[in-house]
Assembly symmetry: C2
């Protein structure tokens, strides 16, 4: 009866940040409450679906009024583990790695990239947006000592698997993979893959269809 939250579906989880962002904007305007139809109109979703997603996090709302925005934000933060800031290591201080290091928004989601790691001697010893770039072979020792649980992979495809293996050995529990490769890791490791090619495939196939139709 204590842990009433059952495992959530991935589509639902992916929608929560959109609710979170929208509610945070509303909160800045001084609003106190928000309803499912309100969120749904703004995000072009089904009101029932929004309600189901929010129910997942344990939120309760009042009929005719909605949810208090403060509780809702706290509920989503808690459900997604964004309450306590968690440290992360980033492997691959290239263009994409620099972009992620420089993105200020992650702080809002409890993610703190504390250091980058790279093989390139020219990069080692420099800093990237205020965080140090260290030699890759220092990752295991530091990850263990600092209890870092999240590893971000932004190395080229050819190096991705070996970096992932290194992270697993270092006690990393979750890997956020930006390389265009499927990584093989033990089942106990959380693996989330941001596939640009998958996204591009949806875009180009639809575009091809659209252009063909209007030819």
């Amino acid at each position: 009866m204590s842990d009433e939250l059952k495992t959530a579906s991935i589509p639902s989880l992916r929608r929560l940040p959109a609710y979170y962002r929208f509610c945070k904007q509303l909160a800045e305007t001084g609003r106190q409450v928000v309803s499912c139809p309100h969120i749904a109109r703004e995000l072009h979703l089904d009101p029932t679906q929004v309600r189901k997603d929010l129910a997942m996090t344990g939120m309760v709302g009042k009929p005719r009024v909605g949810y208090t925005i403060g509780e809702l934000l706290a509920g989503i933060e808690g459900y997604l583990g964004w309450t306590n800031t968690t440290d992360a290591f980033l492997a691959g201080a290239g263009n994409l790695g620099a972009a992620l290091m420089g993105y200020p928004g992650f702080a809002d989601y409890g993610l703190n990239i504390v250091a980058a790691f790279d093989e390139d001697p020219a990069k080692i010893g420099t800093t990237l947006h205020g965080r140090p770039v260290l030699a890759m072979d220092r990752l295991p020792d530091l990850a263990e000592r600092m209890h870092v649980h999240i590893g971000i992979v932004t190395v080229p495809a050819s190096a991705a698997q070996s970096v992932a293996d290194l992270m697993v050995l270092s006690g990393i529990r979750a890997i956020w993979n930006f390389s265009p490769t499927r990584l093989d890791v033990p089942d106990s490791i959380i693996l989330e893959h941001v596939s640009l090619t998958a996204s591009l495939a949806v875009l180009t196939s639809r575009l091809a269809e659209s252009l063909k139709r209007s030819s």
Copy 2:
């Protein structure tokens, strides 16, 4: 009878690049044919699912043998519109924009980012990985004259909607949105959103669950 390909499901479309990549690697080793179970084993998928996805593109295979890799690659390319290189404009020459401009892999998928656009006078006139950075207000004219159909949005959230509006007015048909905002565009515009926060939400919620379980 001519257009036998029915509209594909998004999950299937997203898997196709993985097949494509794997088959291309196989082709480099000299292999001529590949079977669905073979692909499925490698990518940890169900063989039937792979077969259905490939059937979607119009491919036909031979029992006991599989598909000829050459035909399969061509089939996926054709289905995803990767046969002819299509030009794209990128708006927002920041960290992320630079990363996308510098990614060489897009050429394999028929995507060619020909120019970047930015508001920052300090960036205008410079080049990024060999491509020019131009003033944002030149986008409409150039997009029309060069018949560019794809726009990539890598500007901050606050500027994303206005950039998208500009792209729509410029005749852009498809928008690849990397900003952490939902964009409002006409239904006729193809819109693909790469949401880092959605991906992060899946990662952190699972990690929180995993850490709680092993507490």
